[in-house]
């Protein structure tokens, strides 16, 4: 890829980084050609984030050299990275929500004590960047009022404003609708045409194949391969990532739906500020089927799940399990909901599904700590708890197989298996599953999907919420699309992505976003 006349935009030579016993980056060599989009894929913990953090100055490499435009540079902090022309768009935006676009772009580059002159200069510069790259945005709009896709555009503007020649995007499409993602890729294409270099970190192989020129695969801290995108396939990349052949598609037979198990009727949920998040939603889930709720994050799916699980109090509506209304006596709490045969794999395992500072076996009883089989009177039956945890570790292949290890020390996929094993092994009548494979590596995704399908085939009712449209389409027997707190469509399970994508964007909202 390198030619003698134009040195690569970035060259990493022998980058090595250890965190204690973990060898996060093993002598990484990587060369990224100027004016290309370069994808980096790998499972969680493969070392992508560490590598990019070194490039952006969050960490220092133990050994190795970074060359930008052929010259070695020392990137000691993010300021140095910015000076070297490297900009980063984080997965979680680093924006001041109640500032305008202009104020956010200027942040840290205000230019003097008095704002006025700096503001005028910034406004002019912003106009120029917008024109040059076709990034259309109102500089006086308040960030929190912008849709997510535009907020991301502000992040990109911020990087360009600081003179970035090389743009690193970390999982940029996680929060976008398919249409917004397409738009982002169009922008990236324009940036490339202007000679910018783009590094795209993602776990979505489809995106890699669609937009990148080259792709590098990391596995267990090593850079295992670099391919021209045109010459590779999703299957090859997945195999390189995991180190073995993986099934990218869920194998499942037709569903045999039985009687209605979970029935939600005119459910309305408001958040703490009184904003209606779920707006009169009704649907049924039958035994032996998976109902998938598709939608862009933040359209009420989380609140819906939490309301059914008893964590959030609905302001109106009824939830029935096997015909019996939950909380009919006016008291609805997670313990009662569990007792009625409903299990819940929450969307956010770090903040809700697990206590990361606990030992694994302690998390294996979270929510079921009042079950007599784990107790001897008021005391915990430690032996029974640990034996139970070991059995689940064995059955779900949780690694490392140590029930006394702190939960924070397990990888994302194994943490998710801890939650899944806890909830599935209760043999619930209804399973609520939120984002079952977020931050989970491909090997574990395959395992989790198989488990969910097996549970369906065992005649359980499953309600699946995911922002990964691919996941919904491959797992769900029926799809409900949520937008702005309502169910706006029930496309057939084999509906094409475009169609579902339009529903996810809402008709009016889509026009506004374009």
């Amino acid at each position: 890829m390198t030619s003698p006349t134009t040195p690569p935009a970035i060259e990493l030579v022998g980058i090595d980084k250890r965190f204690g016993a973990v060898h996060a980056n093993k002598s990484i060599d990587l060369s990224i050609a100027r004016g290309t989009i370069h994808g980096i894929v790998g499972e969680n913990g493969a070392g992508k984030s560490t590598l990019m953090s070194i490039l952006y100055g969050f960490y220092q490499a133990d050994a190795g050299e970074i060359r930008v435009g052929g010259a070695p540079v020392a990137i000691t902090d993010s300021q140095a990275a910015i000076r070297a022309g490297i900009g980063m768009v984080h997965q979680h935006f680093m924006l001041v929500e109640n500032f305008t676009v202009l104020e956010n772009v200027m942040l840290g580059a205000e230019g003097g004590v008095l704002l006025r002159r700096g503001t005028a200069a910034a406004r002019a510069e912003l106009k120029r960047i917008e024109r040059e790259y076709g990034l259309d945005i109102d500089p006086d709009a308040v960030v929190e009022e912008l849709p997510v896709g535009l907020q991301q555009r502000v992040e990109i503007l911020k990087a360009l404003y600081r003179g970035a020649e090389i743009l690193i995007l970390d999982e940029p499409t996680g929060v976008l609708t398919p249409a917004e993602a397409d738009h982002l890729f169009k922008i990236l294409g324009q940036l490339r045409a202007q000679g910018k270099t783009i590094v795209l970190i993602t776990h979505k192989l489809r995106e890699i194949l669609a937009v990148t020129d080259n792709v590098s695969v990391m596995r267990r801290g090593e850079m295992v391969a670099t391919r021209k995108t045109a010459e590779t396939s999703a299957e090859e990349l997945a195999e390189l990532m995991v180190g073995r052949r993986v099934l990218l598609h869920v194998e499942k037979g037709p569903a045999h739906p039985g009687p209605v198990v979970l029935s939600v009727e005119k459910l309305t949920v408001r958040d703490a500020r009184g904003v209606t998040m779920v707006d009169g939603v009704s649907f049924d889930v039958r035994a032996g089927e998976i109902v998938g709720i598709a939608g862009v994050a933040g359209n009420g799916q989380s609140e819906l799940l939490e309301a059914i699980a008893g964590i959030r109090r609905p302001s109106a509506g009824t939830i029935r399990v096997n015909g019996e209304a939950l909380g009919a006596d006016g008291r609805l709490d997670p313990a009662r909901v569990r007792a009625s045969g409903l299990a819940h794999v929450p969307e956010d395992r770090h903040h809700m599904g697990l206590v990361l500072s606990f030992e694994e076996n302690e998390n294996a009883i979270l929510g079921y700590q009042t079950d007599p089989k784990y107790l001897k009177g008021p005391l915990l039956d430690i032996d029974a708890i640990r034996a139970d945890a070991r059995a689940k570790i064995e059955r779900y292949d949780i690694r490392p197989p140590d029930c006394r290890l702190r939960t924070a020390n397990f990888s994302g996929g194994n943490q998710q298996k801890i939650v899944l094993s806890r909830e599935i092994e209760r043999d619930p009548a209804v399973l609520l599953v939120g984002q079952p494979t977020r931050g989970v590596d491909i090997g574990a995704i395959e395992f989790i999907h198989k488990r969910l399908v097996a549970l369906r085939d065992a005649g359980k009712a499953i309600l699946l919420v995911s922002v990964e449209l691919d996941e919904i389409r491959s797992l769900a027997d029926r799809i409900l699309v949520m937008f702005a707190g309502r169910i706006v469509g029930t496309p057939p399970a084999d509906a094409d992505e475009q169609e579902i994508g339009l529903m996810m964007a809402g008709i009016e909202a889509r026009e506004a976003a374009e």
């Binding site: 250890r18 965190f19 204690g20 016993a21 973990v22 996060a24 969680n44 913990g45 984030s49 560490t50 953090s53 960490y59 699980a309 008893g310 964590i311 709490d333 997670p334 313990a335 009662r336 909901v337 569990r338 819940h344 929450p346 903040h351 809700m352 599904g353 697990l354 206590v355 990361l356 500072s357 606990f358 302690e362 009883i365 979270l366 929510g367 700590q369 009042t370 107790l375 008021p378 005391l379 915990l380 430690i382 702190r406 020390n409 994302g412 931050g439």
Partner: protein, 372 residues
């Protein structure tokens, strides 16, 4: 409590790190002693021999330690639930009211072994009651427990002054205190245990409540790590969202935890009133409630650590008093300064040396910080 920057071997985390903090605190104290023209070596000699060098010194050290174990456990139990109970001082004070009421009622008609358990129960109940209102406000209204417990310290102080001056004062006496308890409310001292070892406790007020303190430590361990309720306490303390998900009732758990915490503080009054003073007098807790915070921090909220930290603070109290007595340059305030430095380094700056130790031990140690 969260431990920044990865894991360390347990002996480093619980042994070496507190030791380094302590050494640094003493080094800085030594510099201060040097600065006022006294010899640091001489000072430390007076301190150690004063606290541990004689039977009487040891007796005083353990007597102070007994009080600090109770208040340290009190703070630790609340810590595990994510609550910072700063109200130990007030809970001790009001606990003393309960202890004194039982003692005054029974000391002339009952032997000590009947009075003491009832006094302990009353001390626990009164201390718990004093924690109830802040707990309830936290649980139901979200009023911050740090603010409310501090306020309750002041209310307790005013209340006790009122009661001691207007209600409980011995008629004809000039000082705001109750009459002296009689033998039916005085705890046996532990001199008889030490005399076979050739140690004479002399006037040291070390008494049977030392064993109650150790037993409380064991019970706190059982409560926190071996009961379902302790599991729920720790879940709320470590991750309130996960606790809500798990169906653990926040309000109920917070209130009960604070009752236990306040009760443990109230038990301290037993040691001081029935073991030493033999009366209820104004300002008897004399800061032990606050020392409990430092003890719990230094002991990492674990009963074993708390007992060790309490003994350390016992040494500082007793040794400090000796030091102030023998070295004229070193005043009572200097001792408070040294204690303050220990609290600063062992409590507030607990983690100052941790990153360095992690770097030192990490290559051989367990997995450290894994970026997402």
């Amino acid at each position: 409590m969260s431990a920044p920057f990865g894991q360390l071997p347990r002996w480093v985390d619980y042994g070496l790190l507190p030791f380094i903090n302590l050494v640094v605190a003493f080094l800085v104290s030594g510099l201060v002693v040097l600065f006022i023209g006294a010899s640091p070596l001489e000072a430390i000699n007076y301190m150690v021999t004063g606290a541990l060098g004689s039977g009487e010194g040891l007796g005083f050290t353990l007597y102070y330690a007994t009080s600090f174990i109770f208040t340290g456990l009190s703070v630790a139990v609340a810590f595990h639930c994510g609550l910072f109970n700063i109200g130990g001082e007030g809970q001790v004070y009001v606990g003393g009211l309960g202890v004194a009421l039982v003692a005054l009622a029974l000391d002339r008609i009952m032997p000590w072994y009947v009075t003491a358990p009832l006094a302990a129960a009353a001390g626990f109940a009164f201390g718990a009651a004093w924690a109830l209102v802040p707990a309830w406000l936290q649980a139901k209204r979200g009023s911050h427990i740090v603010i409310t417990t501090i306020m309750f310290n002041f209310i307790a102080a005013s209340l006790m002054v009122y009661l001691l001056v207007n209600v409980m004062k011995q008629p004809g006496s000039m000082s705001p205190q109750t009459r002296l308890f009689e033998s039916g409310a005085l705890l046996p001292r532990l001199g008889f245990l030490f005399s076979p070892l050739g140690l004479d406790l002399g006037t040291a007020p070390l008494n049977v409540s030392f064993f109650l303190a150790l037993a409380s430590g064991f019970l706190v361990w059982v409560l926190v790590w071996r009961t379902r309720f302790g599991y729920e306490i720790r879940t709320i303390g470590a991750n309130p969202t996960a606790a809500a998900y798990a169906g653990i009732r926040y309000g109920r758990t917070v209130v009960i935890t604070m009752l236990i915490s306040g009760g443990l503080a109230g038990l301290m009054a037993l040691n001081v009133l029935l073991g030493d003073h033999g009366k209820l007098q104004i300002e008897f807790p004399s800061g032990a409630g606050f020392v409990g915070i430092a003890v719990a921090l230094m002991g990492r909220s674990h009963p074993v650590g708390i007992v060790l930290a309490a003994i350390l603070f016992g040494i500082l109290y007793q040794g400090g008093a000796e030091l102030a007595f023998w070295v004229p340059n070193i005043t009572r305030e200097m001792i408070v300064l040294i204690q303050g430095l220990v609290i600063l380094f062992a409590g507030a700056l607990e983690y100052m040396f941790r990153p360095a130790l992690v770097r030192l031990f990490a290559p051989r140690g367990a997995a450290v910080l894994r970026p997402a």
